[in-house]
């Protein structure tokens, strides 16, 4: 059921400030959402360039282009930039744009803090990027920053650590803002169990963020004091234990990977019903599964460290606990499939990306199950198999869904339709090349190629070459995406889009009741009737 939102009068509604300072001082959720999304897109290309440097070096065995130390910096910085600069900010950007519009709120609960969390993020990423130009080079110990290796970093170490602090502060402020918005700003009638799943998954993600970012901040602070103030948290010479760091890191790190995937689930659950023209199958089971995954994420961290020398009981516990995650995740995959079952599906670009997500994320999930088996993990640990696994759960999952979200909501945000033909070209190039890029890495890993090395035995040459070719096709295909986004912002195909953009989208969310593009301030008086098709 759905109904029309009553038009409210707009005469004390004012537009944005003029000039560039608008973007510096803005407290408007749509402006800040745009800032986050643009910044994330820029970082996606920065991180992508680093990935292409890695794949160029690995195109052939032997040393070609870069020094080993710089190569290691690239693997480290690629991960940090993509995680903290691209994927997380992109989802915060979507949250800023969509959560108030989806729950019928006029803005985020704490608009000034919202502005601050964005600029702290920029400061954090710039600080991180500055380490590239320091004596001794950027951190090169992998994004996990394990001691004692990370303590050998040159001048960059304190900068990298403070950068992590800033990124953490930014994420925590964003998370608090999202929780406050969802708890206090919902329109009358928008009960928790009527919220779109994107809002639900973000609520849970926000709780994960405030629970684990401080732990990571504490862990890197211990690294800092170990290096400069003679403490011995992780220094065996003073009675510390480097394995302790791994526990602290992964206590943060495992929920962190779900921080990147839960909003992905939310967007997929929003898009698939619209293009299947059916309500989402099993709404409440989706909510429960999300909560279940979030809970499990706290009690499985040591599956990242099966090979550190845990006793049998520990290995078994973490093995079984990890395999349990497959249950709520399976519920989700089933629900998405069931939503499409007998639906009147059409295959516009957002739907294509979402279907590719369901298929390819499942592949990534299966390799995750393989590695959950402790005895098998001894073979896969720190090989290209794990690289293939987590890239399958991040690139054709989080990145694909972020791009699906961009195609899905860009017409709403800009009032212009994107170029569907070009977008489909972008999809097919991405979907095919991402598999050329990452699938061979499974074979490399099983054959024993270790990760984070600039050179390798000649037996790995063929699959590495294929993987690198895939990387370049994938990387350059993203320029099509950039072009489409810019073109859509400017005038698109010239086609005027309706308020609901997609057929019957009004049944699926409040945002489609607003004009396209929505006015600068929306829902200053709460909407009357809540669409319930997604329930």
């Amino acid at each position: 059921m759905s109904a029309v939102v009553t038009e409210h009068d707009d005469h004390h509604d004012h537009g944005p400030e003029k000039g560039l300072l608008r973007w510096v001082f803005t407290t408007n959720h749509k402006d800040i959402g745009t800032l986050y999304l643009v910044f994330a897109l820029a970082m996606f290309f920065v991180g992508g360039t680093m990935a292409l440097i890695i794949r160029s070096e690995l195109f052939q065995p032997g040393m070609q282009f870069v020094e080993p130390q710089f190569f290691n910096s690239m693997t480290t910085m690629h991960a940090l930039v993509m995680v903290f600069g691209a994927v997380m900010p992109a989802f915060v950007g979507l949250a800023n744009w969509m959560i108030p519009m989806m729950i019928g709120a006029p803005d985020m609960a704490l608009p000034r803090m919202n502005n601050m969390s964005f600029w702290v993020l920029v400061a954090g990423v710039l600080l991180l990027a500055s380490t590239l130009f320091m004596e001794g080079g950027a951190p090169a110990s992998g994004w996990t920053l394990y001691p004692p290796l990370v303590l050998q970093t040159g001048n960059a170490l304190p900068f990298a650590i403070f950068s992590v602090h800033l990124l953490g502060i930014s994420s925590i402020m964003g998370a608090i803002n999202i929780i406050a918005t969802i708890f206090n700003m919902r329109a009358p009638g928008m009960t928790l169990m009527k919220m779109p799943l994107f809002v639900w998954t973000w609520l849970i993600t926000a709780f994960l963020l405030i629970a684990v970012m401080p732990v990571f901040a504490g862990g890197v602070t211990m690294l800092l004091t170990d290096k400069f103030f003679d403490t011995s948290f992780f220094d065996a010479a003073g009675g510390g234990d480097p394995v302790l760091y791994q526990h602290i890191f992964w206590f943060f790190g495992h929920p962190e990977v779900y921080i990147m995937i839960l909003p992905t689930f939310g967007v997929a659950s929003t898009i698939i019903p619209v293009f299947a023209r059916k309500p989402l199958f099993g709404y409440s089971s989706m909510v429960i599964a999300t909560i279940g995954i979030a809970f499990l994420s706290f009690i499985v961290w040591s599956h990242h460290m099966f090979t550190v020398g845990m006793p049998m009981a520990g290995e078994l516990y973490f093995m079984y606990a990890t395999m349990m995650i497959a249950i709520p995740t399976g519920v989700k995959i089933f629900n998405w499939t069931a939503t499409m079952w007998k639906g009147s599906m059409t295959f516009e670009t957002p739907m294509l990306f979402s279907i590719a997500f369901v298929v390819l994320f499942t592949l990534g999930g299966f390799t995750g199950l393989m590695m959950a088996l402790a005895p098998l993990d001894f073979q896969y640990h720190d090989t290209y198999f794990i690289v293939a696994h987590f890239h399958y759960t991040l690139v054709p999952a989080s990145i694909f869904i972020l791009q699906a979200a961009a195609y899905y909501w860009l017409p709403k945000w800009t009032g212009h339709m994107y170029n569907e033909k070009l977008a489909q070209l972008h999809f097919w190039l991405s979907a095919i090349s991402v598999n050329i890029l990452f699938f061979p890495q499974h074979f490399l890993g099983l054959a024993g190629m270790p990760r984070r090395i600039p050179d390798y035995a000649v037996q790995f040459a063929d699959w590495n070459m294929i993987s690198s070719i895939g990387a370049f096709i994938y990387g350059f295909s993203q320029l099509i995406f950039l072009y489409i986004v810019i073109q859509t912002i400017r005038q698109g195909t010239g086609e005027k889009v309706t308020d609901e953009v997609w057929e019957d989208a009004k049944k699926h969310g409040l945002e489609w009741h607003l004009p396209s593009p929505p006015p600068y301030h929306t829902f200053t008086t709460p909407p009357k009737v809540i669409p319930t098709e997604h329930i």
């Binding site: 401080p214 901040a217 003679d230 003073g238 009675g239 020398g309």
Partner: protein, 181 residues
């Protein structure tokens, strides 16, 4: 935004900030929790760092356990360090003494600390040392070489499945650093 909502927001933010602070504290609390947990379960092969009393055990002559001795130096520690006895077949309950040889390879005095580790980790609680150069920092004069004894006993309670125990020492150069423990 109405006053009521603003009040509610401020209250909620305060609560959430408390959660953030608590979780930051929890990160630090993991340090002692980890130590206590490893102590109770003997998980990570941490070895007692003070001398055990020379207690009496019934010597189990019917059983042999191999004890191996491994030495290593941390990154840049400028020393020579080796175990004179590499491997020993022992009877649980009987006391043994083995010697290690360490030499300062520099022209200056040096303070170094040896850190022991036992694998398999769960065997650590059955391995007792009454004398060890690892209990305190060792001072070396320039180019001084020392023979240092370790006296130990393996508790006869050691479960049957352990046939070999490896004792590893790593020397750390602490000359420029005060060790806090």
């Amino acid at each position: 935004m109405s006053e009521v909502i603003e009040q509610k927001n401020i209250k909620l933010v305060k609560k959430l900030l408390l959660v953030v602070l608590a979780m930051f504290g929890f990160g630090y609390a993991l340090v002692p929790i980890y130590d206590v947990f490893c102590d109770i379960t003997g998980l990570n092969g941490k070895v007692e760092l003070s001398a055990a009393n020379e207690g009496q055990y019934e010597i189990d002559t019917g059983r042999e356990v191999t004890v191996e001795f491994i030495t290593s130096l941390n990154e840049t520690t400028p020393m020579k360090f080796r175990a004179i006895t590499k491997k020993l077949k022992i009877h649980p309950g009987k006391y043994y003494t083995v010697d290690f040889l360490a030499e300062n390879s520099t022209d200056r005095p040096m303070i170094a600390q040896a850190i022991p580790s036992i694998s398999p980790g769960a065997a650590a609680e059955y391995f007792h040392k009454t004398e060890c150069f690892c209990f305190t920092e060792q001072k070396f004069a320039a180019h001084e070489s020392k023979t240092m004894p370790v006296r130990f006993v393996v508790d006869p309670e050691l479960p049957e499945r352990y046939k070999t125990i490896t004792l590893a020492y790593t020397f750390f150069d602490n000359t420029d650093k005060t060790v806090k423990n």
